[in-house]
Symmetry: C2
Subunit: 613 residues, 2 copies
């Protein structure tokens, strides 16, 4: 079969499989303009960033409004080992199969990796916007503490050349919230002036932290404001890694520039002393945040090794956020591939988290309906779920994982089966992708296929894309095509939005196998507060380990009957979800004794980066 | 006269002069590829970043190695008022005159503005690199505190698959510094292992701070490491604004990728407890920093309103760093304009600081020799130096500044005269650019011209580029051309590098009019330390106010006989200079009660940024 695309490349299959970096370096990428042309994108539809990257402009969406969408496929996985089971490689391999071997229009949608571990510069705009808001918070508290109502008002609404005071546009948002409909600052009563100028932020209520795109553990908890000019207004706070910023989640969940402006403006940074939520627009900074994000909203077009197109966009955390790439990238991709084409998007973590949030948060906001959900499984992880010894990153695998043991695999399939039935409940066809390693045997893989079909999977297919590129995922591609074509268009959410916060949490907990939910005092307090503030209609984004259906990473297989403890409940109002914390979530990684930067250098002669693996 | 360039645009002159943003919005920029083509740059010579920006690749320099340089012109100014006297507008206006009216090949070289006040995303790479190094410092101290020599060594040089330990390439830099020539880790003696693995950083000696590109005053002084996992290893430190990072100064002073790698590796972050300087390469991070900066080293090609080319590159602070745009941008520009063409580059602050550092630091490292130095003067600032009332930003100007007062101007010319004679001493022709405001009178401008010529200026010319674009700077362009053509190629430095640190400081202080220099105890201690560490051969970068020749901003005119106090002495070893602090320098600005972000928003319909001025 030959492809109609001009930018398709067939890779030579080499055995044993070379290192990733050597495979990558063996290929000269196509100019990204050629990849764009293949998608019928002209130079007015994108901005080049170098020769191999382009930002696809959001206006493409308006232009293609009338055209039909392609098939929408989401890739999740079983509960993984700490080594990862290959969701990203399966996503890419499947697209290479569809595009380079099955002659389909296809686009891969991926999250942007974080710089912390990878040394690219990513999330820069979100980080800059996050930190502008942080600076605005502390400085506002500082200025409110040292100035009278009148002085604040005079500075916030200074007279122009004609001596006339005016409100900045953004101030009308606060005025509206306060129920003040006056447009002339001079007409405000002293009480209205006071309410307008005093955000009266309760420092202890501030949930907005600063971010940095480096693994800097010493910033996890800090005290700021210790300079003499800050007059003793010290405060305990901390930094998260940039991708943990709510602004990254806003970027991923937004559907247009106008909607992003609204989401950024309504982000809540804490409460007033009276318990009212204080937003970015109360601080006057919503518009500026949008300006900082205006280029970031355009997805980045890149390519796979076999020349199929990829949109890389947004990279929200998969625990305290929803861990999916952006809605706008998926929307653009669905229009660009058109009817009969395929968009394959990855959902972070195991399906209990990634696919659940894909359906109940991302698709709820986008209105898109997937036709097929893939669950990636490995023999290794299934053996672990069947009772195999602990798998630890950096340590050699136990013998159990590299010699045949069908019974262990069969025992572990309870994990896969629950992921299948949970995912099937959304109304999609589920295809299991068995990501084959060299030591896996036919008997083991047959056991998985049997269990998957028994649990209701549409199909279960072995794939070898890691060794063979797209060619190794042709069977998966065919199965996905059949699954999409046989699927009607419905999406059954796990819970309706008008459930209370607790009801929604309990619906999700039930899907984990929990017999109940236990709330800490703090969680109860927060749920009451968010409900009172009118935020209970938001979807829920559980911050839970991906290593087990339960909150205890060591509970493998398909645990049930446990009580899920909710330690705390927080909210990303702008992004649009409430996130209960099940256990402790690290939002700032650290560096090891020998970080990978020791190996990274530049080849002065060629300018190539050395030390990648 | 008509221009041979294809991308020249003549602006319609409108009176009264519209707001900057309205002028900017009235023009559709040329595609940057057309600007590049005019400079004989093909698509292999640059990477596009959108349609109106391109990164010019450093390899252009190798390709043009054989061609002759154009004329090299630096723009400085008299000691300014807080309103600024128009160095940047004069730089741009002059280039528009040379390119659009005098038919010359010309390139403007400008510093990159900082995001803090401007809302672009700038200095991102330098900031990311700066903060990776900061994280590496604290984490290294943490790991050294909790591990034995042997455990550290095992982690730093782990056995590979064959069980053989190896050093990472960067480790050989530390081994060489320690005088250890062994290449097999297993051959190190326990004492050598100890010296190799223990940087033994003295926390109180750490000068490396974190950076952020936001005016966040609450980060000026902070305590880090307060999280429970950091086990009580708290430390006081702080954030500077990104452009204050030494890495920004390295970028500006580097001459090639290879040289940047060396400069980044030898940056000193503090001392060991034994008083030895600890470098980025000791921490193993020099190569990774270079990788983060590898795209940042390529200057950004942009354009003026009249279509002449501009290279925007690097934006180091003008006080604690040298405040000039990059050497590589100037070098590329000089080759691109070629013989008979012009490169005009701006030096930050008044000439006593900007031009002095341009000559003694930037040209010393680049080997380039300017033919002409411009000093921008305004009637307003000269009146202030002559004894006029204080000029305060945001307050209406006193009557003295908007009505004719020749005597006040004449009295103020002592400031201009000293800038002229100081600048002339470098061996360049000095052209005074009188930046005319609407209220300035002919008699006042004649007084300046007379004083300038008496002080030895090659010429003194009135210009009206702010109102008239390039057309308003044609006389200046002609004068600059004559100055360049009549100039022989020499540069007399103010001090030789083999002077001691104090001798060099005193040579600069003398040029300010000081009768002597007074060192604090701390300054004496630091000078001794840097001398002992072998760094006394570096040039000096004075951190002094630009508002006076002296250290006291209110001393206008040409003060003399004062004793210059040196409060502290610091060093940027990688960038390559020692910087004495004359008074207190803020390296992290704050936000006002009503920052400009209140006005900034996006026009949802057009995507245009609103609220710029």
């Amino acid at each position: 079969m030959s492809s109609s695309s001009k930018t398709i490349r067939r890779l030579e299959v080499v055995s044993p499989v070379p290192a990733d970096i050597d495979i990558a370096n063996s290929v000269d990428p196509f100019p990204i303009a050629a990849i764009a042309e293949d998608l019928n994108l002209g130079s007015k539809h994108y901005d080049l960033y170098g020769k191999y990257k382009a930002k696809v402009l959001l206006s493409v969406l308006d232009e293609l409004q009338g055209s039909e969408d392609g098939y929408y496929v989401v890739v999740g996985g079983i509960s993984p080992t700490p080594l990862g089971e290959g969701k990203s490689t399966t996503t890419v391999g499947l697209c290479q199969a569809l595009g380079a071997f099955l002659d389909k229009k296809v686009i891969t949608c991926l999250r942007q990796p974080s710089q912390g571990p990878t040394f690219g510069i990513k999330g820069g705009a979100a980080g800059a916007a996050n930190n502008l808001l942080a600076a605005a918070i502390d400085t506002r508290i500082f200025h409110e503490a040292s100035q009278s109502d009148k002085a604040l008002f005079n500075r916030l609404c200074p007279p122009n050349k004609e001596g006339k005071r005016t409100f900045a546009n953004v101030m009308f948002r606060r005025l509206q919230k306060l129920g003040i409909s006056k447009t002339n600052p001079d007409e405000l009563t002293p009480d209205e002036v006071k309410r307008f100028v005093r955000l009266d932020i309760d420092p202890d209520s501030i949930t907005w932290r600063r971010v940095m795109d480096v693994n800097d553990r010493f910033l996890r908890k800090i005290t700021v404001g210790q300079g003499p000019e800050e007059k003793g207004m010290i405060r305990e706070t901390g930094f998260d890694i940039s991708v943990a910023s709510e602004i990254m989640a806003v970027l991923a969940l937004t559907t247009s520039l106008a909607e992003m402006r609204e989401r950024l403006g309504r982000m809540v940074i804490g409460n007033s002393n009276a318990g009212e939520p204080i937003t970015a627009d109360d601080l006057g900074v919503g518009g500026a945040l949008t300006v900082l994000m205006k280029d970031a909203i355009n997805p980045t077009l890149m390519q796979t090794l076999e020349g199929t197109p990829v949109l890389v966009h947004a990279g929200p955390f998969a625990n305290i956020a929803h861990g999916n790439s952006s809605i706008v990238a998926d929307k653009i991709a669905l229009k660009l591939v058109g009817k009969g084409g395929f968009v394959v998007t990855e959902a972070g973590f195991g399906s209990d988290i990634g696919t659940e949030k894909f359906m109940n948060i991302k698709c709820r906001y986008s209105g898109l309906v997937p036709q097929c959900a893939i669950i990636v499984a490995t023999i290794r992880a299934l053996k672990m779920h069947g009772g195999g010894p602990e798998v630890v990153a950096g340590k050699p695998l136990d013998r159990a994982y590299i010699t045949e043991n069908v019974a262990l695999v069969e025992a572990g399939c309870v994990n896969l089966s629950r992921h299948i039935s949970n995912t099937k409940a959304y109304g999609v066809n589920v295809v299991v992708a068995i990501n084959k390693f060299a030591t896996d045997t036919d008997a083991e893989m047959n056991a998985v296929r049997t269990a998957a079909l028994a649990a209701g999977a549409f199909d279960a297919v072995v794939c070898t894309h890691h060794a063979h590129g797209g060619k190794g995922a042709v069977d998966l591609g065919t199965a996905v095509q059949r699954a999409c074509e046989s699927q009607s268009q419905t999406l059954n959410f796990l819970y309706p939005l008008d459930f209370g916060i607790k009801e929604k949490i309990e619906a999700i907990a039930k899907s984990y196998g929990a017999s109940g939910v236990e709330y800490s005092e703090q969680a109860e307090k927060q749920i009451k507060m968010y409900t009172k503030q009118g935020f209970s209609g938001l979807p829920i984004c559980m911050a839970k380990t991906q290593y087990s259906f339960s909150h205890i990473p060591s509970q493998k297989g398909a645990p049930s009957g446990f009580v899920l403890p909710i330690r705390d409940v927080r909210a990303s109002i702008g992004a649009g979800f409430i996130y209960p914390l099940v256990g402790t979530m690290s939002t700032m990684p650290g560096l090891s004794t020998r970080p990978c930067f020791f190996d990274i250098d530049i080849d002065i002669a060629t300018g190539k980066v050395l030390g990648l693996s």
